[in-house]
């Protein structure tokens, strides 16, 4: 039944969000900072954000522009997390006031 599937998916989404959060904390506590770690954390942010937007906010079924504008937040910010790690001097130069 469609409604059962819809609401049971929310249960699994909650479990996935819990697992990803615990995984992030574990990485923070144990792993040395590296490109892979930063990419993994940025990827986790993207997936968590999209799950909340699509499954809890229930935007998975709405007009593409609305869905895209919300999801865009969770494409751009993870990308900025990675770029800040990879190109700090370039971003510092871009944001220098004088």
């Amino acid at each position: 039944m469609a409604s059962m599937t819809h609401y049971k998916k929310q249960d699994f989404v909650w479990l996935a969000l819990m697992a990803m959060t615990l995984g992030s904390a574990l990485i923070a506590e144990s792993a040395e900072p590296s490109v892979l770690v930063v990419i993994a954390i940025a990827g986790t942010v993207m997936v968590k954000g999209r799950l909340v937007i699509n499954r809890f906010m229930e935007l998975h079924n709405v007009h593409a522009y609305v869905r895209f504008s919300m999801n865009l937040y969770f494409y751009v910010l993870p990308l900025l997390i990675i770029m800040t790690y990879l190109f700090p001097e370039f971003i510092a130069e871009l944001t220098r006031l004088s």
Partner: protein, 210 residues
Amino acid sequence: MINIALKASKWAGIDSTDSRYDPLPKAGRIPGNGPVWVGIYAEMTEFALMFLIFFAAKVHYSDVFKEGPLQLNIYAGLLNTLALLTSSYFVAKAVGCVRMNQINKAIYWLCGTIAAAVFYLLVKAWEYQWNAEQGLEVNSSMFFTVYYYMTFNHFLHVAWGGGAILWAIFRLKRGGYTPQSHEGLEAIACYWHMIDLVWIIIFPLLYVLR
């Protein structure tokens, strides 16, 4: 854990087969109403500007931004993240219950949201106290200036978002939301999810990326 979640779903009557109500959101319809979406986009823009300031400050003060997260209590950040994600789940469940005409159970889910919000606020207050005992204050470094500005702003959003959830409980008790008409509840739910979304970004920026 999966069993607990599935049993919780069954208890909430989410798998009801009552054909009088449409248990799913209508395809293509944006949940909530226009004004709340103006608010959501405005709030997310405000936080986006804070994130941009965070990134700019991080590249200009790289040493203090490397040390800053190590000085924070990651367990406080972790507990707050788990509480907010769970509160968002509870709100989503409450909306589902109203669609199924399970009003009392929707109220229980929203009470769970309030409990999670209060837990968040208490943990955050304790974290600020813990920081103060370590000598970590707004002026300790650029990292802590950004940290306090961002987290206290978010703290205020959780507090008044909790007020909106209390209003939703009051309206539910008064019969203000029905399976056919619950736009106001959806609007409050979407606003609450927005608060959760912002924290999903704050947590790794301040506590995880070291």
